[in-house]
């Protein structure tokens, strides 16, 4: 197969789009771990939950933009409830039981989704206002994928703005470094934890809603994206937003070019990279915590 410049360009764009999607999932996972020390193995379940809830909202209202707003909000609410009623009581028992709890949670959410929406893949159409394609350097590219890319970038910018320019962001960053000290200084850290957990779940849900039309909605969707998000978080460094950004685009491009160039080995290569990073530098490329 001859690979010309256009193919490379398209593949590169695909990689960027997928990178943005994994970033939305991985950023929440990473911040929650950095702050609460909890690796949420059920994090991708919120991605799936967001996609399914968005699908139902779209079915009821018929408006993509409403589903884009409500899907993530409902996922965030589910995240908030999860943190309050399930994770918080287990916290004192140590990280072993927290990990176990999130495993059980992912199982339960998966079964609930199968029960509520069935096991068949659900058809989602690209919203009418975003159908069609654009001409880029002599080739066409679907408008919706470009929308995902720029929308994701906007979310990333908003996230960075909140995290680095607001009071709340300052508290979150301080809590990542030293949660006990932040609590001693008079901040209601459990409430901040809850908000951050909900925010992470909401971001994952958002990724689920916008990914639906191009990646499909089916019960296995959480496992696929969840694994990629884990690789991203591990490679970028648990708790690092910058790491999540860099690693997301890295893994996105790797997946994209892997499918094109060496489909046999792309999956193996990804986990190989994850194992190598963990073995040599467990805190990841940009992680601060050892």
């Amino acid at each position: 197969m001859a690979i010309d410049l256009t193919t490379i360009l398209i593949t590169c764009l695909h990689g960027l789009v997928y990178g943005v999607l994994i970033f939305l999932v991985a950023s929440g996972l990473s911040i929650v771990f950095g702050m609460m020390g909890v690796l949420n193995l059920a994090h991708a379940s919120f991605y799936m939950l967001g996609a399914y809830l968005g699908y139902s909202v779209l079915g009821i209202t018929g408006n993509f933009w409403v589903s884009l707003l409500l899907g993530p909000l409902l996922a965030a609410a589910a995240g908030s409830l999860t943190e309050h009623f399930l994770l918080r009581p287990v916290h004192e028992a140590g990280h072993l039981f927290e990990l176990m709890l999130t495993i059980g949670l992912s199982l339960v959410i998966l079964e609930l989704v199968k029960w509520g929406w069935g096991t068949e893949p659900l058809p989602v159409k690209i919203p009418p206002s975003l159908t069609g394609s654009l001409q880029i350097l002599g080739s066409t590219y679907p408008l919706y994928r470009l929308f995902i890319f720029f929308f994701g970038l906007a979310v990333l910018a908003a996230l960075a703005l909140v995290l680095f320019k607001t009071n709340l962001g300052m508290i979150v960053r301080a809590a990542i470094t030293n949660p006990v000290m932040v609590s001693a200084l008079g901040t209601d850290t459990p409430r901040v934890f809850n908000m951050v957990f909900a925010l992470g779940a909401g971001l994952a849900g958002l990724a689920g809603v916008i990914a639906g039309p191009i990646m499909g909605i089916y019960p296995g969707m959480a496992t696929v994206v969840g694994m990629d998000a884990f690789v991203v978080v591990v490679v970028g460094g648990l708790g690092s937003l910058l790491g999540a950004v860099v690693a997301s685009f890295l893994i996105g491009e790797l997946q994209s070019f892997g499918v094109l160039l060496f489909p046999q080995f792309s999956l193996i290569l990804m986990f190989f990279i994850m194992a190598v990073v963990l073995s040599i530098k467990p805190q990841g490329l940009f992680g601060e915590k050892g």
């Binding site: 771990f33 020390g37 690796l39 193995l41 399930l86 009581p89 287990v90 028992a93 990280h95 072993l96 039981f97 990990l99 176990m100 709890l101 495993i103 059980g104 949670l105 199982l107 339960v108 998966l110 079964e111 609930l112 199968k114 029960w115 496992t223 694994m227 884990f230 690789v231 591990v234 648990l238 046999q264 080995f265 999956l267 193996i268 990804m270 986990f271 190989f272 994850m274 194992a275 963990l278 073995s279 467990p282």
Partner: protein
Amino acid sequence: MTTRRLNIAVLVVIGLAVLACPWYLGTVSLRLMTEVLYYALFAVSLNLITGFGGLLSFGHAAYFGVGAYVTALSLLHIKGLGLIPALLMGGLAAAVIGAFFSIFLIRVSGTYYAMLTLAFNQLLYAVALKWRDVTGGDDGLGGFPKPPLHIPLIGGIDMTNTANFYWFTAVVIGVMLFLAWHLIRTPLGVSIVLLRENEERARFLGHRTATTRFYLFTIAAFLAGIAGSMFALFQEFVSTGSIDIFKAVDVILMMVIGGVGHFFGPMLGALFMVFVGDWLSRLTDMWEFYIGAFFIAMVLYFRGGLISLMLYAWFWLQRLLSGLLGRRAAS
């Protein structure tokens, strides 16, 4: 002393009840019981790492899968291979992989350990899925022979017979479980628990923490590999289902539901998961939901698992009995 004797008596009764299963269980239940046995070993081997070593492995299915695939492949490609050699090849291959992974695993702890085991598991899963020429990929491997067991002076015992295979499984798993039980009573076993409790102090006392963990991971991998081998021999079919993430989750469920940290807990968990899972799956499509919800309830409210529930009942019964007997002696 009497408590010890009583405990041994209880274990002997349970052991005999397990061996006598073919006489009082139907074929379907006997097959489920065979599954219970190898899953019990699988869960016990994980419990060595998690319960006694204090580390949650999120990729224990890697060793189970390697054991299963290697046994299947060697029976498929080596003509006239015996039953025991096929079993041992599965276990040893898992031990070799486990030893190799341990080189990297001894350097990390906590969440990073869970992540690295996950990465290794997924790496092997990806190989099993993509290396179609050898593993059959999605289609899996089947059609390998199930050789009879050759015992000197007695001759060959047909393993296609459900009861015969059950007894063979019971003996193999029994020996392996005894090895695991013995391990935690050796100095190495004591050292493993010491590492869980206080690694720094263990190091100050002169324990080689890395070596201890290396042995722990390798032995646990071997036991999981034997469990996987038995799985392959029993199912006569091996697919990526034996090495994927869901297998790794299943064994964690068994261990926690049964009772993590208690030696006999995971066996109870395996019994519960196989039989209750089978019963629920015939009642409802959502059976995994109920298992998951039960698991979450366990983690939230009853971290000791089923085994500690049973032990409470047992102590209560003992006190009741001794109270009654004591009163009779006094009157």
